[in-house]
């Protein structure tokens, strides 16, 4: 059992620490045909405590110029009648702006849908016109609290290297995986790696390959879900010249390329039943035929398959061959989700920060407490792959030695500023709570109204009406 990863605060860095007064630089942008003068005056009157530096941009193009030229903490933008389009544009524009300023959107009677979309995009707040002092002051206070962060040093990580990849983690769940990997690698058995998207199935497969009897051969990976169905067969088995339109030359397939090595078939559940039959034959007979060819070619490969689906359920639904499943699942390894790995998140974060800092020639030695909080609070649907992406982007935009919350994507930052978390007026109205719940269920069902209505236990027409009412 490993002790939890502890991270102690380090000396204050360039950004203001807790308790220090941060000077906020605010750019006020008027909507189309409007003037920012009134807003500017309000801002100065209501928050004139010497801690604000405010400027205006008369229109969007000039705002873009100002954003490119200087660093701003906040953009206070008035949305036009096309509030949704404007909001999407602002979110996109601020991604590329210096210092990743936060957005406070101002709109005439913003709909619940707009507010929810704004939250999801990491917008700090949506205020309605006419502007009220207490709302604006509260929004600015939230900006202040967000910009004060404390740096904590990154822990040292000892990865188990797998070629250019690495297995990182000390959680009990991962220790079990390491043990199984070590046991299975020495044999030539076919392995099925199961786990949610982004849990590291290919890294596990590579670890088996490099530590197994086929290590001297090639490791060839094929993503069965990425390749169009009509091309997958020729990709796997190859084809003879002229076998079909576009077969301009003989092609050696992945089975042959992996000769004496390992063939990794990722997302195997996405394969058609016809192709599954051909894979089964290749596994059983250890021979293949190129598309359009008549020659039988013997193949000696170790097969490792992976999936993020429940194959037993797919068998029940008739979408996956049972005989193939038992051929592939001689040994099954299940990879844990990032949520199941506890403090591995911190180790993985440290590992990726160092990896990308080296790649992008940055010197990053610490992460802020707030950034770490955001990382810990995130749901990580994409598991380690999502974390890796988030850290890579954060390293690219980081400008000093500490990775801060402002370097994280809007989606993560949005999670710290949801309506429910607001310090004042935090209690939601019934309508707000209902709209929020409907939005969550719709996101869960990928917008499928029938399924959402079933979960909510209401008629689909009622749901449609409520969606319209809340602007969802």
């Amino acid at each position: 059992m490993n002790s939890p990863v502890r991270m102690e605060p380090s000396a204050p860095s360039a950004a203001p620490g807790r308790g220090e007064v941060a000077l906020l630089r605010i750019l006020v942008v008027a909507g189309e045909g409007g003037s920012a003068g009134g807003l500017l005056q309000n801002l100065r009157q209501w928050a004139d405590d010497g801690r604000l530096e405010v400027d205006t941009a008369p229109d969007l193009p000039r705002a873009v110029r100002q954003l490119a030229g200087q660093r701003w903490d906040v953009v206070l933008a008035v949305l036009s009648n096309h509030a949704d389009d404007d909001l999407a544009w602002w979110v996109d524009t601020l991604r590329g702006a210096t210092g990743s300023p936060r957005l406070i959107a101002v709109a005439q009677a913003p709909s619940m849908g707009l507010v929810l979309r704004a939250e999801k995009s990491g917008v700090l707040d949506v205020l309605s016109l006419p502007l009220r002092r207490e709302e604006l002051v509260r929004a600015l206070e939230r900006v202040r609290s967000v910009v004060s962060e404390t740096a904590v040093p990154l822990p040292l990580v000892e990865p188990h290297a797998v070629g250019p990849y690495a297995l990182v983690g000390q959680s009990p769940a991962m220790l079990d995986v390491y043990k199984l990997l070590a046991r299975v690698a020495g044999s030539a058995a076919t392995v099925l790696v199961q786990g949610e998207s982004g849990t590291g199935k290919e890294v596990a497969a590579r670890a088996i390959h490099v530590n197994g009897p086929h290590a001297s051969g090639a490791f060839v990976a094929v993503n069965c879900a990425a390749i169009p169905e009509n091309l997958l067969e020729s990709e796997l088995f190859g084809h003879e010249k002229g076998a079909f339109t576009g077969a301009v030359t003989r092609k050696i397939g992945r089975f042959e390329q992996a000769g004496n090595g390992t063939l990794f078939l990722d997302e195997i559940a996405d394969m058609s039943l016809a192709l599954q039959a051909k894979i089964l034959r290749a596994v059983q007979e250890r021979e293949i035929e190129r598309v359009g060819g008549s020659e039988t070619i013997p193949v000696d490969v170790r097969l490792i398959a992976a999936t993020n689906r429940d194959l037993k359920e797919a068998i029940k639904q008739g979408r996956f061959r049972e005989d193939l499943y038992y051929r592939l699942a001689v040994v099954t390894i299940r990879l844990p989700t990032l949520m199941e790995r506890g403090d591995d998140l911190v180790l993985l974060t440290a590992y990726y920060v160092r990896l990308f800092a080296e790649r992008y020639r940055k010197k990053i030695h610490a992460i802020s407490d707030r950034a770490l909080e955001l990382l810990r609070a995130h749901a990580w649907v994409g598991n380690v792959r999502e974390l890796r992406n988030v850290i890579e982007r954060a390293v690219i935009v980081a400008t000093d030695e500490t990775l801060r919350a402002e370097h994280l994507p809007d989606e993560l930052r949005g999670e710290e500023t949801t309506l429910a978390d607001r310090p004042q007026g935090g209690l939601l109205t019934l309508a707000e709570a209902e709209a929020r719940h409907i939005a969550r269920v719709l996101a869960h069902t990928n917008g499928q109204i029938g399924a959402a209505a079933e979960i909510l236990g209401i008629h689909r027409n009622t749901l449609t009406r409520k969606m319209k009412e809340y602007g969802l």
Partner: protein, 433 residues
């Protein structure tokens, strides 16, 4: 509990016969297709294309009334246009007939039905030819010229613009002559005939200046800037673009936001060619801001985003390029703008090529599928084959590279596209060397 999984677009489209009547349904299906979150983060996520997105039959059914409404509105407008033409005919108002038919054709063009638009314009032309006043004919011929240009029928387009110009000059119709010159310049530019384009745009510019038509003059200067950039006269290109921008500023930017966006988009391309990455990026960002001010034009926005992505790609900023391309993909799918979608996938393929990722071929295959099966475009198909050939060559697959480049050359030949054909030819020679 959440019902069956969505159907992949590639499978959904395979079930749909190629029928004109189903075009709006195909458009609706594409526009509502989306990836599920698990797919985005799966290992196939980086290779996600339109074909791998999912659609729920339930959602398609739910959205059908909206599609029917749009179709009905479009048909109503067309029928109304025809009835107006008929009323004009009854009154003996032949110019009115031409105006009504032209309007109907423009409605067809707005929804991307270029062939149908041409049919309306051809009827309008027959009516206009019988008139004593030749100005309606000048206008119809110009409309025909542009629709031919959109269909890639350059020779036919040039013929219509030539006739429009001759008639306009005979009628002392300066605006008509200016517009026809611009059209002739556009055809020449599309075919890579720099000398011809230069002559026509310059002539148009002189006429526009004489008529104090600032917006038209600005547009022509922008096109001259495009031309100068393509001819690698970058100083001249910068000067033309500066003047174009000034013209629009004087003309009143509020009415010319889309033109400002186009000028800045071109300025970005010029800065990129000059190796000024930051300036190019700023120009594109400002172009997007102007585009945001103008009425929504997905094609304009996509053009800017594609340039921005290409800039990132060429600067080796692959993450940014990918993020921009994914945003552009969303705009294209939401707006059902298929040709730029094929360009987006071509760039995605190039990006994967830069990462030496062989599976990147799936993007070229998807782009070809789109331009062959969903919205035919020979010019885009040629560009895709060109990039596909380079991708294969980069991975050391010389035979396939040669085959794809030869196909690109054949397609550019069929279009009469001289400059691109020469580029492909040079790459084929390099491959054989």
């Amino acid at each position: 509990m959440t019902g069956p999984p969505p159907v992949r677009v590639e499978k959904a489209l395979a079930l749909m016969p190629e029928l004109e009547a189903l075009t709006p349904l195909r458009a609706l299906l594409v526009s509502i297709a989306r990836p599920d979150e698990a797919t985005v983060w799966s290992s196939s996520g980086p290779y996600l294309t339109l074909g791998k997105r999912g659609v729920h039959p339930d959602e398609l059914r739910r959205r059908m009334p909206q599609a029917f409404q749009r179709i009905t509105e479009h048909l109503q407008a067309l029928f109304k246009g025809y009835v107006e033409a008929l009323e004009c005919q009854q009154r003996g108002d032949a110019p009115g007939v031409v105006v009504a038919l032209l309007r109907a054709g423009r409605l067809e063009e707005q929804v991307g039905r270029h062939t149908q638009a041409r049919n309306w314009y051809e009827v309008a032309l027959r009516v206009a030819e019988a008139l004593q006043d030749r100005r309606p004919e000048v206008e119809v011929l110009r409309a025909l010229g542009y629709v031919c240009l959109a269909l890639g029928e350059y020779a036919a387009g040039a013929r219509h613009f030539q006739r429009s110009l001759a008639l306009a000059e005979a009628e002392f119709d300066q605006a008509g002559a200016t517009a026809a010159s611009e059209g002739l310049g556009d055809v020449a530019l599309a075919q890579g005939q720099w000398g011809g384009a230069q002559a026509w745009y310059s002539r148009g510019l002189r006429l526009a200046e004489a008529a104090s038509d600032a917006p038209r003059a600005g547009r022509l200067e922008r096109q001259l800037g495009v031309l100068a950039r393509k001819q690698r006269d970058l100083a001249a290109a910068g000067e033309f673009l500066r003047r174009a921008r000034e013209r629009f500023e004087v003309a009143g930017v509020a009415d010319e936001a889309d033109e400002m966006a186009r000028v800045l988009n071109e300025q970005g391309r010029l800065d990129a060619q000059l190796g000024r990455y930051t300036a190019a990026s700023a120009a594109y960002r400002e172009a997007l801001a102007w585009a945001q001010r103008a009425p929504r034009d997905a094609r304009l926005e996509l053009s800017i985003r594609l340039n921005l992505a290409e800039l990132d790609l060429e600067a080796g900023r692959l993450l940014e390029a990918e993020a921009e391309l994914r945003r552009a993909e969303q705009v294209a799918i939401g707006g059902h703008v298929i040709r730029p979608l094929a360009q987006i996938y071509t760039l995605m393929g190039r990006l994967r090529g830069a990462q030496e990722d062989e599976t990147g071929f799936v993007f070229f295959e998807q782009a070809l599928e789109l331009v062959k099966a969903v919205e035919r475009s020979v010019a885009t198909e040629a560009q895709v084959y060109h990039a596909y050939g380079l991708f294969r060559g980069r991975l050391g697959q010389q035979d396939e590279a040669r085959a794809y480049l030869e196909r690109a050359r054949e397609l550019f030949d069929s279009l009469g596209e001289a400059v691109e054909r020469e580029r492909v030819e040079a790459e084929l020679r390099a491959l054989s060397a």
